[in-house]
Amino acid sequence: MVASSPSAYPHLSSSALDDLQADLTILLHQTLSHRSLHPKNLGILPTKKSWLLNLDVLVLSDAGNILDALFMASRAALWDTRVPRTRGVEYKARPRKAAEDTTAQGGRGDMDVDEDTQSGFDTRTIHKATDFELPDYWDEGEPLDGRAQWPVSVTLNLEHPIHFLDATAQEEAATPLRLLLAFSFPSSASPVMQAMRMLGPGEPAPSHLKELVKAGEQYAREISTALISKLKEEDIRRYQKAREIFELHR
């Protein structure tokens, strides 16, 4: 869901702003919510409960190339997302014999608690789990699955016969024809093109389009590698260094 502060587009009226927000939301949503990108650890209880992931993007100012920035920001935010670990829980009526209260699983009378599992998805041992609990309130959880394969977008501004990237606002106004390509680079498979959209008036030839797609993949790969290394750096800075400092002061 993309929202935009009116300060980002001071020349637009509020209804035009709403339209723009809707456009950007659709673009982002249709690409990112595709089933092939669906993370696997969002389920809590099979066929019954799962986590809902909400992605909100707020545009504070736009000086050109907003789509690439949107995808990059979404990717970074999704990299950062954590899913809380859950435990399947089943409510059973209190058994008649008091001796059977403490079950082999360490149940506390009423609740039949699952063994401590690493992944919230693993509730195979309790088939009738109807609810879940968070075993550790302060635990942030495990990282969202598939975080290295969210797509990265490249907007090629087409000015026949050349194209250029990362347009400023003035360049965008001068070059109305744009080709948006979103690529996903899963580690084990070959790159997948997740989205292709042409914006603006113009009729590039199909052969020209083919070369643009190839070139786009190259750019996207570079952007993706650079982004991942930056995100990994930030991970290290946050968790490992913090841990080291903590160890030092213990």
């Binding site: 009116p6 980002a8 909100d56 504070l60």
Partner: protein, 265 residues
């Protein structure tokens, strides 16, 4: 999470570790945002608000212009992720419109609108994070953004919230405290002591009101100090970047450090 959180415990500490009259950590960021003429990001503890000001400029809708003054247009946008539970608010939400109207009426007597007839000053408030004291943060950020945009004001407007817990007054309330206690938001102009905004939506006993009102006035002087410091450091940084600016009048040798000295307002 256990038993009810105490608003003010026996040791005199509040739920977030502050004392009764202690204000939250305040940060002010006056860096340029996009194409805005002036912008300010103000945080009070965990409440963060960004205000961008455009103007005075030609009005978008001619019908809204006033022949002898500038028209102040305030738009408030609350991010869906700003509160603990994500809530998408529509643009026409009554609470938001009320907030915008309150901000507008706070600044109408303060901005020198008679200098810019038939023009419009746009104030866009973007709420990024909410933890109590929303109106307070919005007013403070708007003041700073207007100052940053170079729009002439009669004085700073400094706002602070206050509440009463049984008989003890508290200042600068967090969301937890705001939900539990009667609270009032007061905005004051520090030089003259004139109050340009007092709002309260809860019920407060009249005997308690005077005390909390006076305290809030004192607290806004403290906030005024912070704002002045921020504006000063920002301006001196800009002046230094511009290369010491033009010398006014015959500078004597003592004036070599003239660009470091700021005029006392």
């Amino acid at each position: 999470m256990g038993s009810r959180v105490e608003i003010l415990n026996q040791g005199g500490f509040r739920s977030d570790g502050r004392r009764q009259f202690e204000l939250r950590d305040m940060t002010i960021d006056l860096s340029q945002q996009g194409q805005a003429d002036g912008a300010a990001v103000v945080t009070h503890g965990l409440t963060q608000v960004m205000v961008s000001v455009f103007g005075p400029r030609e009005a978008k809708m001619r019908s809204q212009t006033i022949h002898d003054r500038a028209n102040i247009n305030v738009e408030v946008n609350i991010a869906a992720f700003s509160t603990g539970e994500r809530r998408k608010r529509t643009r026409g939400d009554k609470r938001i419109l009320e907030l915008a109207a309150t901000i507008k009426s706070t600044f109408e007597p303060v901005v020198q609108t008679n200098l810019y007839p038939r023009s419009q000053i746009d104030v866009y408030v973007q709420v990024l994070q909410q933890d109590g004291g929303l109106l307070q943060a919005c007013v403070n950020a708007t003041t700073l953004a207007l100052v940053n945009a170079g729009i002439p004001l009669l004085d700073f407007v400094c706002a602070v919230t206050g509440g009463v817990h049984s008989t003890s007054p508290l200042l600068d309330l967090t969301l937890l405290e705001e939900n539990d206690l009667p609270n009032v938001t007061v905005a004051m102009m520090p030089k003259t002591g004139k109050v340009t905004l007092v709002t309260m939506e809860t019920r407060l006993h009249v005997d308690r009101f005077e005390e909390i009102f006076r305290l809030a006035g004192d607290a806004s002087k403290v906030i005024h100090g912070e704002m002045k410091t921020a504006v000063r450091s920002r301006t001196s940084a800009l002046v230094a970047a511009m290369g010491s600016g033009p010398r006014v009048g015959g500078g004597d040798s003592a004036d070599k450090h003239g660009d470091d000295r700021m005029n006392e307002y």
